[in-house]
Symmetry: C2
Subunit: 454 residues, 2 copies
């Protein structure tokens, strides 16, 4: 009898697991269930669908159920998992069309249910035109409303809000972002958060407003017209045509409460390096799992599409009988606000202090190419290293230049705990169209090294 | 009495040493001598001056003698060093304007005389309109002639020829490149050299001709009109208005023959990690020194502006009483042909075999961003790793996409001998405008790892 692999979740990790597993093994029966009516799409691309860089949402779909069927993978749409019985090896499913429940047995189960938005407990939050952005349907709904709107409010100052803000500004909306913390993008150090804020405000003067230390206490409006305004704890009332909640996400694991599968930070699923959960025959991958931070050596939860793909691939190799270890992550994130790149890798200076490192830092602002070349951009980097070990702990990078090139140069050095004295002389290739003779990231390393040694 | 530092050479390493030394120490007397009538310019930028991306050669000048004077550094133009007496600690100089010779004593000497073109021994090579491209005056001369020309011949298939070809094609010249080896860009594996050749030929059909396995045996022409044609060993006669010799460079160290200063590969100057030569009080930096290859653990000679800058900085720190070690290089190079990036880091597959490694490789061709984003480019990568140690030995990257970003991601991993099994899961930041969910460079690592383990 062929082995039955059941995969729950149709975002990134589930489809990746299915596809890779099929490439590795033709003899296994693979069934993938998702509560959505669509699978295998890039949720990370939704902001670019909003702003019309991508015109049709279909473009975001990587593989259709039919594509999977050709690989002999059965896709089951609109099917929600409501419980897992690991003793008897079945999942309890609900057909969302008929509301009927049924059991599906498995030999191997892969949980890849991802994350879902946190909905803050604010009066009238269920009013029309208050959105979250997680699914393609969310994107379609927001875009439709956006095109009829003049004013928008964004709740929360994370990446999603920055990306949606780009779409709204592009579409000539008046945008107000409300963040209860003293800074947006709280993973960044305060100074870099400030630089980013200044750039956003300065880029379209008068069109964007960012309120810090401000909390939304209620929405006003009515059932028919939907939300009309947002009321804050300082008494401000901000008129708006729509609201997007960028108030964070949490692991989509509520259905596992009674399963006995061990949960971890923020109720993400505890997995080992092979992506096995605490229960025999049960794997998990993607945004629903916890993550091991290779710098702090602590468990964390950083839901990222890139990690989901790697974990899905790794889980598939292990299920197929191979050997793949996923060691952990470095909290690497990047986004853009128009031409301005925003990225952080590893830990910030303030986090380094919190975790007991002895951090030193350097900030450099440099041209990204030889000064005499055309189309020059600027990169501003904040490199953080540990005084004791001389290893790099993190980098923050912003600017309209080639930031990603510099950021990526640092990542393997963080992973391998390369010492500053080696890294600062790294033989990066040089030609005037690509960098200055000494790359900005090496300038930063040289400065920290001199600070530490003086 | 203040210490006297004498620096010979006005390209990259010499001025860098002078400027950094002054920042470290205000009490030292610094004199810099150069045989040219200009200092501190970017020779690497000359091809972009040729093609008119840079309109004025002055733009390539990083610092003028007056700038140095403000820092209390004395610049002496048109002064050639003809000998070094390390016992009596003086350099024998020649004033090229008056042809007078004189001695200049030093406490510390820095030799930074760079490299100079190899002039092949071909009949009539001294005809007018046969050029090398090394100095700003070379650039001015070639540009002037190019603007009146319809046909050009490039000798040699190295980076300089590719860069000059871009300028000539841009200016509507008919270009023939002649290379005596079976491939251009001989540091690349044959397959990648072929891909690059195909791209160059295909980009401007009929305008560019590349002759391989073909050697120039003579130039014809006359004293007044200069070169008229190039004659090859297979009997071809190629009419041309000008010729640029891209037939390599060699260390500019002839004047050291009697100095007792130890020379190394190709007569480059042997230096240790502190940039000291074999003689007390004598440092060397830049294109005139040998280089330690950190992959093969052998000495090599790879003259690069980036290395020159790092060595100059490092030498200055050591002269100032600090401690800076320059460990070595990874043979990193990059250039472009119009929108097409060409880069190689570390060693090629064929070199890996020659050096006794057990290499495995993977070639991937991928989009450089999420497939649904606009302005997508393609990157083709050839990653090479060692089967025994699972470490990365090199990468070749080409394409009209963001190649540099991928290349740079590999370099610290080569330096730190990061194993494939760690590298292939590297937490690179992901967002659709910057990369696919799994970066191409990680795809390549995954493929090699699977090849090695299957």
């Amino acid at each position: 009898m062929a082995e039955q692999v059941v995969i729950i979740g149709g975002g990134a990790a589930g489809p990746k697991t299915a596809a890779k597993l099929r490439r590795e093994r033709s003899d296994i029966k693979i069934d993938l269930y998702t509560q959505e009516d669509i699978i295998s799409y890039s949720a990370c691309g939704l902001p670019y669908f909003l702003e019309n860089t991508i015109q049709n949402y279909e473009t975001l779909i990587i593989r259709t159920p039919e594509d999977f069927q050709k690989q002999n993978i059965d896709i089951h749409l609109k099917q929600r998992c409501i419980d897992v019985d690991t003793d008897n090896q079945y999942v309890l499913m609900e057909d969302l069309t008929t509301n009927t429940k049924y059991k599906k047995p498995y030999n191997i189960l892969v949980i890849a249910t991802g994350a879902k938005p946190v909905i803050p407990n604010i009066p009238n939050i269920n009013l029309k035109n208050i959105f979250t952005l997680r699914t393609i349907q969310d994107g379609i709904n927001i875009k439709e409303k956006m095109l009829q709107s003049k004013k928008a409010v964004l709740l929360g100052g994370g990446y999603i809000s920055i990306e949606v803000m780009e779409a709204f500004v592009q579409n000539n909306l008046q945008v107000t972002l409300i963040e209860k913390e003293p800074q947006i993008l709280k993973m960044f150090d305060e100074d870099f958060s400030q630089r980013i804020t200044d750039y956003i405000i300065g880029r379209n003067p008068g069109q964007v407003n960012i309120l810090l230390n401000e909390e939304v206490v209620a929405f006003s409006g009515n059932t028919e017209g939907g939300v009309k305004s947002v009321i804050t704890n300082t008494g401000k009332e901000i008129e708006t045509d729509l609201v997007v909640l960028g108030t964070g996400v949490r692991p989509n694991t509520d259905f596992l409460i009674n399963s006995g599968i061990k949960l971890s930070i923020k109720n993400s699923i505890k997995v080992d390096k092979t992506l096995k959960t605490s229960k025999n025959g049960v794997y998990a991958a993607g945004d629903c799992t916890d993550n091991f931070n290779l710098i702090t050596n602590r468990y964390t939860w950083v839901p990222m599409g890139s990690t989901a793909n790697k974990e899905g691939r790794c889980a598939a190799i292990n299920i197929a009988g191979g050997n793949c270890l996923f060691d952990g992550i470095l909290n690497s994130t990047i986004t853009k606000y128009f031409e301005f790149t925003i990225s952080i890798i590893g830990i910030s200076y303030k986090e380094a202090l919190e975790y007991g490192f002895q951090p030193e830092f350097a900030i450099v602002t440099k041209k990204d190419k030889a000064g005499y070349m055309p189309n020059i951009g600027t990169v501003t980097l904040k490199l953080i290293a540990d005084k004791n070990t001389h290893t790099i702990l993190g980098i923050q990078g912003i600017g309209d230049g080639e930031v990603n090139q510099r950021i990526n140069t640092v990542i393997p050095a963080i992973l391998s705990k390369t010492k500053l004295e080696s890294f600062m002389h790294l033989d990066l290739p040089y030609s005037p169209p690509y960098s200055p003779a000494i790359d900005p990231v090496l300038n930063a390393a040289q400065i920290i090294y001199q600070k530490i040694n003086s």
